[in-house]
């Protein structure tokens, strides 16, 4: 069934260091051949992708589809389709839904919704502790068996260092990576934006850089103590990126990601109380942004994620203190990554690695590679297409993007998940 040829495209596959113009053959949901058709292959569908780039489907390490719990903001169906339209084929979801992903029944619910959605794959993270309360361990082995790729704090810092240590050790027993979002709960209390001159002018409580670095310090000490593979999500500071780099030099098993918007926005974008740019962790100073770009370029930050947090319009329509943090990010993930290439931050191959092979490696996923025999999760984009990013061109239910009105170069034209065409850009 379902033999597809992607004909005439430029294949860029960071996992295999491949950059070549060739046909790509898909059969039975898997990559069947590159350049040469496998014997006996009869194409049922030929997609002419001449002039376009064919790469592994993107793997987004942090996206919140809001289901279960907040389906007025978005649903798994809406966001799985929006992800597909953005070239993303795997959405990894933090466990802080309602209910929390701390039992296999919640995982099963998510998987059921995923099957109905017919878009990107949904990969839930399990909660490290019951209810993310930071007290009792979850049944991690069962969660893994149900399909959780890693165990995460879901943005709720485990305050008790002993509980965190135990959670890490327990997860490590089952070779489950641990995902932490470093944020000192006391230093960040009540904070709305980066503690800097903009917060001072606007009279808003700041979140100091030390909220990230202090938490990272403790967490890295526990990585050193336990040796458990740990991934730090959504870094926001230059100092935090430095801590990660130093830990890697010492040989600690740590990786990190950054939200794409952190590489483009700074505290200055919050000027005039622009709630669209209010995110957590906050966008910080110009020098933080520069250092994060540097760390992405040299690979110390291995992955770029969307940190997708869709909201209904009302959630952002109010003064800063009453509006909800977070930005809708699925639609802008690939465009922003391509913009990094345009701006000379890193070459295309490396940039695509940050959203394909590297996140796959961090979670130990099979996807993220176009090698023959691998699962056919594929993104095709037109690298020259210039388009306006706005609420109408966005696919996510949440239109709360800081990038409305931006012009992007590079647009997804086709997305395949398990060898099935799940998205095709309609002709305009």
């Amino acid at each position: 069934m379902n033999n597809i040829v992607l004909s005439g495209g430029r294949i860029v596959d960071p996992a295999n260091g491949l950059d070549t113009e060739a046909d790509l053959f898909v059969s039975e949901g898997r990559i069947a051949g590159i350049g040469e058709a496998p014997s006996g292959f009869r194409a049922e569908q030929t997609l002419d992708v001449g002039g376009q780039i064919v790469c592994p489907g993107l793997i987004d390490l942090a996206a919140r589809p809001r289901e279960p719990g907040a389906t007025h903001k978005a649903t798994i169906a809406s966001e799985a389709r929006a992800a597909a339209a953005g070239g993303i084929t795997t959405l990894c979801c933090p466990p802080d839904s309602q209910p929390v992903v701390d039992s296999t029944s919640v995982v099963e619910l998510i998987r059921r919704r995923e099957r109905e959605a017919a878009g990107a794959k949904i990969l839930p993270y399990g909660a490290l502790t019951k209810g993310l309360a930071g007290e009792q361990l979850t049944e991690m082995a069962a969660l893994k068996a149900a399909g959780c790729a890693a165990m995460a704090d879901g943005g709720h810092v485990i305050r008790n260092s002993l509980v965190l240590r135990r959670a890490m050790e327990y997860a490590g027993s089952f070779k489950l990576p641990v995902l932490l979002t470093p944020k000192d709960p006391w230093l960040s209390e009540g904070g709305l934006i980066h503690e800097g001159h903009v917060a001072t002018r606007l009279g808003l409580t700041g979140i100091p850089a030390a909220a990230e670095t202090a938490a990272l310090g403790r967490d890295l000490a526990l990585v050193q103590q336990t040796g458990v593979r740990t991934h730090f999500g959504r870094l926001s500071t230059a100092a935090g990126a430095n801590q990660i780099a130093r830990a890697q030099q010492q040989g600690l098993p740590v990786t990190a990601d950054v939200a794409a918007l952190q590489l483009f926005l700074t505290e200055m974008d919050l000027w005039d109380f622009n709630t669209a740019c209010q995110v957590d962790p906050p966008v910080r100073s110009d020098s933080d942004r520069a250092a994060l770009r540097q760390a992405v370029a040299n690979g110390q930050i291995a992955a770029i994620c969307s940190d997708h947090q869709p909201h209904e319009p009302d959630a952002k329509d109010g003064p800063m203190g009453t509006s909800s943090p977070g930005a809708s990010g699925l639609d802008s993930l690939l465009p922003l990554v391509l913009r990094l290439v345009d701006e000379g931050v890193l070459p295309l191959m490396d940039a695509l690695a940050r959203v394909t092979s590297n996140p796959a490696h961090i979670l130990g996923l099979e996807a993220g590679s176009l090698a023959v025999g691998r699962v056919a999760d594929i993104c095709v984009f037109d690298p020259k297409a210039v388009w306006w990013f706005n609420a109408e061109t966005m696919h996510s239910m949440g239109k709360n993007s800081p990038f409305l009105g931006w012009e992007f170069t590079g647009r997804v034209t086709h997305t395949l998940v398990d060898g099935r065409l799940v998205y095709r850009l309609s002709q305009q």
Binding site: H197, T200, L202, D272, G318, G321
Partner: protein, 319 residues
């Protein structure tokens, strides 16, 4: 922040003193000066806002500020509605935006807004119908521009020029919208030097970027100043590890005759009120010959008349 100016550079809303051009700041003071004559008369009214409706939207309790806004509006012959919202709709879960739409349906011309969230006045101005002016009567820790302008008015009456002045603002800068607005207004009017005096726990990060010199020692900070502005210290600041005790704060930063002796002999002492006697200022200073604290309250009416009439496009006729 161009939100508050129209295309001709005239005041449309009054949200912050930051970024306002000096001629506009001076115009506010001059217009206020012209209204002081009105206040002195036995018939204390001018017909500038006759037929206009001003709505006082106070989401935070305030007696003094609300009263002076009300008096100012009445002396301009406007109709005034006071809406105390902490006891009204938001409690019922109505959003700020919905409430705004409802109030606009009552055909008012101006909202005077006080709100506990920084940026609330900006939010309302951005969402208000065209032709409706918003005056910020204090938003969170962000701004309290009419208070700052009445302070500037009081300073100018005593000192005439801003350029030669050294002004010290003492106390809880961190939580103070008044201090932020004063700093922007003083710098906008060309004050020679603006100082802030406080322990680091009561100073926001990188306050120097607002154009001030920082002092932690009040005696060094008050040396040779022309104007001392004391800020109110809320009792709740004793919790949260900002300060050890009221008595230590008073000992280090409370204004006394003795500490004031290093200032210029003709220095004036100001306070936006209400005063905590014995916490940030001793009674001998608050009630003493250099205190202009009660003048500030009186001047508040003329300054608010000036801002309201300018924002509704009628201030020029009187100025």
């Amino acid at each position: 922040m161009s939100l508050q100016l129209d295309e001709h550079g005239r005041l449309r809303h009054f949200l912050t003193t930051e970024g306002l051009p000096r001629p506009l700041l001076t115009q506010i003071l001059d217009t206020a000066e012209s209204f002081t004559g009105v206040i002195g008369k036995s018939i204390k009214k001018v017909p500038l806002l006759r037929g206009r409706t001003v709505m006082n939207l106070f989401f935070e309790a305030s007696t003094r500020t609300r009263t002076t806004f009300e008096l100012a509006a009445k002396r301009l012959s406007a109709d005034v509605l006071n809406i105390n919202i902490s006891t009204s709709a938001t409690v019922k879960g109505e959003s700020l935006l919905d409430m705004l739409r409802n109030l606009e349906a009552m055909q008012c011309d101006m909202f005077v807004v006080r709100h506990a969230d920084s940026g609330a006045a900006h939010f309302i101005a951005r969402n208000a119908a065209p032709g409706v002016s918003v005056i910020n009567a204090g938003d969170g820790r962000h701004a309290h521009p009419t208070q700052a302008m009445l302070d500037m008015f009081t300073i100018r009456r005593h000192k005439r020029e801003f350029e030669p002045l050294r002004v010290a603002i003492v106390g809880d800068i961190l939580h103070s919208r008044v201090a932020r607005s004063q700093i922007h207004a003083l710098n906008g009017l060309g004050a020679g030097e603006v100082r802030v005096i406080a322990p680091r726990t009561l100073l926001p990060h990188d306050i120097e970027s607002l154009g001030v010199k920082v002092f932690h020692d009040i005696r060094a900070g008050l040396a040779d100043v022309d104007v001392v502005i004391m800020l109110r210290l809320q009792k709740e600041r004793m919790s949260g590890a900002l300060l050890p005790s009221e008595s230590e704060f008073f000992r280090l930063y409370g204004l006394t005759e003795e500490k004031l002796s290093v200032a210029k002999p003709d220095a004036i002492v100001m306070h936006p009120g209400p005063i905590n006697r014995g916490v940030e200022i001793e009674s001998a200073v608050a009630d003493g010959p250099r205190s202009v604290i009660l003048e500030q309250v009186t001047n508040g009416i003329a300054v608010r008349m000036a801002v309201m009439s300018m924002a509704l496009g009628t201030g020029g006729e009187n100025a």
